[in-house]
Amino acid sequence: MLSAQERAQVAQVWDLIAGHEAPFGAELLLRLFTVYPSTKTYFKHLGDRPDEVQLLSHGQRVLEAVGVAVRHMDNLRAALSPLADLHAHVLRVDPTNFPLLIQCFQVVLASHLQGEFTVEMQVVWDKFLTGLAVVLTEKYH
């Protein structure tokens, strides 16, 4: 799905995130919950106003999974199979929520990278994250 050049671009952006999965993930979730409050229904265990510790912990988990995807772009289905099972049978997050998370991901990238957030980065990450969401929801039926 992604060309060799696109994969290189994904990896290049990931280099900026690697090592900072927790704060990046925390901001991602904070934006998700602030902008799209209905998404909090999937995180009842974090309470109505998740605190920084919870956001960092769960944010790290989410971003580490994205890191797994980055390292296995040529074999996403196999690498993410356990997560796909989890989302299909346990979490059952409605598929319409993934674009909301992707929007927030792009906003975090854009606000951190600012002028360096090129249109090429935006298109390649949109493609990559959308593909990721497809894999995570593939076992839903």
Partner: protein
């Protein structure tokens, strides 16, 4: 009907005052056409859209982007009556331009990303929430007269 608190209105107008409408408009439309290439279907007459750099540098894209974002300024001035403010444009987009309203949502999201890139850390989650609410309201208003 979408309702904005006093804080949300202040946050939105405060940021809008610092936006270079001409530049941001071209960037928004350009990024829409690059990131969601199927949106190019409405712009056959725009000439060279063959690559990201061609699109971002295309003078027609820049000019049209400026037009679109200038019109968006009406939204900022009429947050309490988006449907009224965009009634005529809604008819135009349905009857003459035949644009699927989903495209308004895509453009709105691209605009938010551009604001984030321009304003960096200043673009807080609360600011993002206010702006996502506004772009969603505009998209709904633009779709309101469709029949």
């Amino acid at each position: 009907m979408v309702h904005f608190t006093a804080e949300e209105k202040a946050a939105i107008t405060g940021l809008w005052g610092k936006v270079n409408v001409e530049e941001a408009g071209g960037e928004a439309l350009g990024r829409l056409l690059v990131v969601y290439p199927w949106t190019q279907r409405f712009f056959d007459s725009f000439g060279n859209l063959s690559s990201p750099s061609a699109i971002m540098g295309n003078p027609k894209v820049k000019a049209h982007g400026k037009k679109v974002l200038t019109s968006f300024g009406d939204a900022v001035k009429n947050m309490d009556n988006l449907k009224g403010a965009f009634a005529k444009l809604s008819e135009l987009h349905c009857d003459k331009l035949h644009v699927d309203p989903e495209n308004f949502r895509l453009l709105g999201n691209v605009m938010v990303i551009i604001l984030a890139s321009h304003f960096g850390r200043e673009f807080t989650p609360e600011l993002q929430a206010a702006w996502q609410k506004l772009v969603a309201g505009v998209a709904t208003a633009l779709a309101h007269k469709y029949h």
